[in-house]
């Protein structure tokens, strides 16, 4: 599967800019990379513009400026899915419960 890099994603600046080291995206843990991929995928699958996610990311960072970047990223993605009705709060809670139960 080939994915084209979306310039609006790659060029996010200011508070929303993802952590980079000399241009390379820095993921401190694999889940951060997966969260990155999920957001790009969801925006595309829902036919939205990237700014729909970016605005929520900026809001999440503003709400919790002390939180790590990708924690805000996940919060923004959850908010986006709820706002567009792609996922309900109940489904989200159930999925979290399942993950916790399955965790070793």
């Amino acid at each position: 599967m080939t994915v084209r890099v979306d310039a609006t994603v790659a060029a996010m600046s200011g508070a929303a800019a993802p952590p980079r080291r000399n241009g390379e995206l820095v993921f401190d843990a694999p889940w951060q990379g997966r969260a990155f991929g999920m957001a790009v995928g969801v925006v595309e699958q829902l036919g939205l513009e990237w700014k729909a996610f970016q605005q929520r990311l900026i809001a999440a960072i503003a709400a919790h400026p002390e939180a790590p970047y990708y924690d805000c990223w996940v919060a923004a993605l959850e908010q986006l899915l709820l706002d567009y009705g792609a996922v309900t709060a109940e489904e989200m809670a159930a999925a979290r419960a399942t993950v916790r139960a399955d965790a070793p």
Partner: protein, 226 residues
Amino acid sequence: MSEPDGDHHHPTPLSPVEARARALEELLKEKGLLPEGFIDAVVSAYENDIGPMNGARVVAHAWVDPAYKARLLADGTAAIAELGFGGPEGEHLVAVENTPAVHNVVVCTLCSCYPWPVLGLPPSWYKSPPYRARMVREPRVLLREMGLDLPENVEIRVWDSSAEIRYMVLPERPTGTEGKSEPQLAALVTRDAMIGTARLGAAPQHRFGGPLPDGSLRGPKSDRLL
């Protein structure tokens, strides 16, 4: 951002946010919002392919549009932004033009500053101490070792990138490309030509990962370090 964890008796190695991310992934898969393999493809694309093609489009546009070329050479950051590319605030992109008499090459002697919004990720040799030191000390010799043998009468200008100013080379348009479209021209432009370690249609280009500038660079298979 964390949520109360009611499961104190069974501590898990998953952090709360990691659990939320995993739950989202399961949910999205279930709902068909995340095709199989999509995440890996996205991560790989963004890790590897914030590509030199941005720079190639800048170069091709400058070749066909003299007014754009003038703007590019006068204010690289603004001209590159016209095409929708740019970096975080505070970084200036400067394009330097190759001519028959002048060849430009980019280095970062201090670390590995690189115009990544247009050139993508730096090749590993760009970050290597031998490249950084020798491109300043003996550019002609090093370029020859890298496959670019410039005539003695061509002046070599070495540009030292920094966190504030990042250079890219505007290569000469190859001869015999008069009939080509802008996308066709962009396809001719290589990363190495925009760094200045190669010329287009003039000299054999060293391969991806390159010959070793001083023999000390082992295992050039990986083009990404850091």
